[in-house]
């Protein structure tokens, strides 16, 4: 019994530690989770500045080559959430590492091109070609709790 409790405490401590450094605030908006999450993980809004989210939402008809068009009212719901919780508006902690690399007024569109991302992802091509991975934006292939904002 005591052993179990100790194990439980250890597990808790580990989670708390993750919350301190690796943790990114998870997405909570149901429209973002549903619409963005239909095709890829709904990336945490702090990884891009608000103006980047707005540009992405203005270009859904050609979303990295995909037609990801959504009804206008849905787009506005998503825009409200993403821009209010973006790296430059609601970002704390982990997000700062990403925003440091964003030029003032710059509008990056790919999180995976941020040096803060690249620095942590120097892998041989074979890793990216793994059939479980498919693309660099498939966080969940390796970070099993990425959708909860935990990148370990």
């Amino acid at each position: 019994m005591r052993a179990l409790l100790a194990a439980g405490l250890l597990a808790l401590t580990a989670t708390a530690a993750a919350a301190d450094d690796g943790r990114v605030r998870p997405v909570t908006d149901p429209a973002v989770l549903k619409e963005c999450g239909a095709c890829h993980m709904a990336f945490q809004s702090v990884f891009l500045p608000a103006r980047s989210w707005s540009r992405l939402l203005d270009g859904l008809a050609d979303h990295f080559g995909e037609d990801a068009t959504l009804p206008a009212d849905t787009v506005e719901v998503i825009r409200t959430y993403l821009t209010a919780n973006a790296g430059d508006t609601g970002g704390r902690g982990e997000a700062r590492k990403f925003m440091r690399w964003v030029a003032p007024g710059g509008t990056p569109l790919r999180i995976t091109e941020n040096p803060a991302f690249l620095r942590e992802h120097r892998f041989p091509e074979s890793v990216w070609k793994d059939p479980k991975v498919v693309t660099k934006s498939n966080c969940l292939a390796c970070h099993r709790r990425a959708d909860q904002g935990v990148y370990e």
Binding site: A38, C39, H40, E66, D67, A68, V134, T135, A141
Partner: protein, 139 residues
């Protein structure tokens, strides 16, 4: 005359009703049947077999990563799939494995639009959409 139109309408509805499961899915199917009849008054019924052919065929004209619906939904729609473009897992699309499929019109329309463009390089017709649902509902 009136009666024969009514008969035709009932006949056209019959296959949709035969699949009866979720009334929302039936409503989506009868919407597509009405659209199909508007394009072709001789339209009779959806065909699960044609739906399966649509699902399994290798098309050209779409994205080379997705020549077929099976590229993401796998050859066995009762199994989970994987998005060939993003790597994200996809829940099974056969109704027997996932009864919530094809019950929300907006979701269904959105995916037909995206996925048909991705695979066929064009939108699917109302007949193709109804056939596809008929196949998935019976699979």
């Amino acid at each position: 005359m009136k009666r024969s139109i009514l008969m035709a309408a009932m006949l056209a509805l019959a296959p949709a009703l035969a699949l009866a499961g979720d009334p929302r899915r039936d409503a989506i199917l009868s919407d597509y049947a009405a659209e199909a009849r508007r394009v072709d008054p001789a339209f009779a019924a959806f065909s699960a077999q044609r739906g399966e052919t649509l699902f399994r065929s290798r098309w050209s004209g779409g994205d080379p990563r997705t020549p077929s619906c099976t590229a993401c939904h796998t050859a066995d729609p009762r199994q989970p799939g994987q998005n060939a473009k993003t790597g994200r897992p996809i829940d099974p699309v056969a109704v027997s494995a996932n009864p919530r499929r094809f019950t929300d019109k907006a979701t269904v329309e959105k995916h037909f639009m995206r996925d048909c463009k991705s695979v066929l390089g064009r939108e699917c017709t109302p007949v193709e959409k109804g056939d596809y649902i008929a196949f998935m509902a019976g699979y």
